[in-house]
Amino acid sequence: MFQVALGILTAIGGFVDIGDLVTNAQVGARFGLSLGWIVVFGVIGICVFAEMSGRVAAVSGRATFDLVRERLGPRVGLVNLVASMAVTMLTFVAEIGGVALALQLVSSVNYLLIVPFVGFVVWLILWRAKFSVMENVLGLFGLALIAFAVALWQLGPDWGDLLHRMAVVDKPGDEQWRTLAYYGVALFGAAMTPYEVFFFSSGGVEERWTAKDLRVMRANVFIGFPLGGMLSLAIAGSAAMVFGPLDASVDTLGQVGLPVAVALGKIGLAVALVGFVAATLGAACECGLSVGYSLSQFYGWQWGKYVKPAVAARFHLVLALTTILATGVLLTKVDPILVTEFSVVFSAVALPLTYFPILVVANDPDYMGEHANGRLANGLGSFYLVVIGVAALAAIPLMIVTRMGA
């Protein structure tokens, strides 16, 4: 019971990352909760595919992408590897930048000076911390983002109106449909970020899940993820309450926290700041590991934190090099919020390459035996794959025609 509760709590706390924080606040300020249904839709999608990848890990004892090359061949595997790794790397840069921006809010020291420190801490965690400690500690501290839900409640919205806006596809009069569509794709990409599935399935192998753990895994996914999605909606809702009436947009992490200060004052803001740091740091570690996992799994190297670094030397070398690379990219003065915006859109582009192989492997009785996908999982997976395909095709054209939603 304790394991189930811990798993659910860390799944909630670990659900939100810099992409969710920024995109939900931006959308909430501009469109209210009129795109809230996309978050709900995206959360259902990530639940469907996370359950499949978790099931693959538990039943086969191998991470999904360990099987992709074997099942789909090296060529498809390589395309999958390059696309997913590129997006995860971009997200890794955004998350490290997010931690630095969060610490800048606490210290008022320029984030560029903080970035090397954050890079070092991320590498240290990836090198030294136990997998379970990393996942549980950062996940539990990430729960501090519940401050946004409390803030939304304190701001006293008209709940009926909020729910009505979520249920009806509409836009403010001064916005264009294509801009709404662009942010819809961005929200969808933020909710279904590929690294979450890499991390989830490889984490299952790290924690040595077996078929007996399927119930716990499903509880994490089907309770933890939707509750994490509620935090995303709370971020959007509180931004809508504070910035909507001002007709102001949200472009910085400092603005994302202001609704909590309005509703709850300094204590609430301090809690939200802890949430910012934990959520972005946790996501940074997950992204870094995901890059290491996918590369090592593709080339058949020894990987994972459950073995000593000396045994998985190439895996740890990848972790160190990618952390240096991500830190270096941020030191070029590239705007972390801009990187975040790109990362969620390119996540949407890479979604089919990430999720199609999961559906194929989870449906293969040779690997899954009696635990292969049933009709419901296949139906939902296929339906989402079509939607993902449409979102992937639309993402870049929408980004160009709307000038990134400007």
Binding site: Q104, S107, S108, D247, A248, T252, L258, V262, K266, A406
Partner: protein, 161 residues
């Protein structure tokens, strides 16, 4: 008569394209009135966001709901945001009919940027007694930018003579 070899034709085409690109790249293009107004509206909206955020953060500080360092960071970010908006519209060549409003837009954004800088300086120096007055000035600047944004929704009014 022999046709010129393919590589030569390709060379000529490349040279023409490069010349055109260089010419276009050297002189800023003049956008038409509608697209200039869209860009101007966007810049004014971004400036307005920066000013309103600065005002909100300052008022929250007045009610002891925000930390000094958080306020300082929000103001630095607002200053950066309005600077970007100012550069974006300032570097665009306005159509002749919009010259007057170009001056108004760049002037008002410049004034607002200067006000945010003044606020940031006061906050860094912890001159708390000035916060209320600065918040009021920021509110006035935000209202003026909002009026300008509304005005930019229409083409310029032609005056007789």
């Amino acid at each position: 008569m022999k046709n010129p070899p393919r590589w030569r034709r390709a060379g000529v085409v490349t040279a023409v394209v490069l010349t055109l690109l260089t010419a276009v790249g050297c002189a800023p293009g003049t956008p038409d009135g509608d697209s200039w107004r869209i860009d101007a509206q966007r810049a004014v909206a971004d400036a307005s966001t920066a000013v309103q955020t600065a005002e909100l953060a300052l008022r929250l500080h007045g009610h002891d709901r925000i930390f000094d360092r958080y306020l300082q960071t929000v103001l630095v970010e607002a200053e950066k945001g309005i600077g970007t908006a100012s550069t974006a519209i300032g570097s665009k060549q306005p159509p002749r009919a919009e010259r007057e409003r170009y001056d108004t837009v760049t002037g008002q954004i410049g004034e607002a940027a200067s006000l945010i800088s003044t606020t940031r300086i006061a906050v860094v120096d912890r001159e708390t007694s000035r916060y209320d007055a600065l918040a009021d000035r920021l509110a006035d600047a935000a209202a003026a930018l909002s009026r300008l944004e509304d005005d930019l929704q229409h083409p310029p009014v032609r005056t007789a003579g």
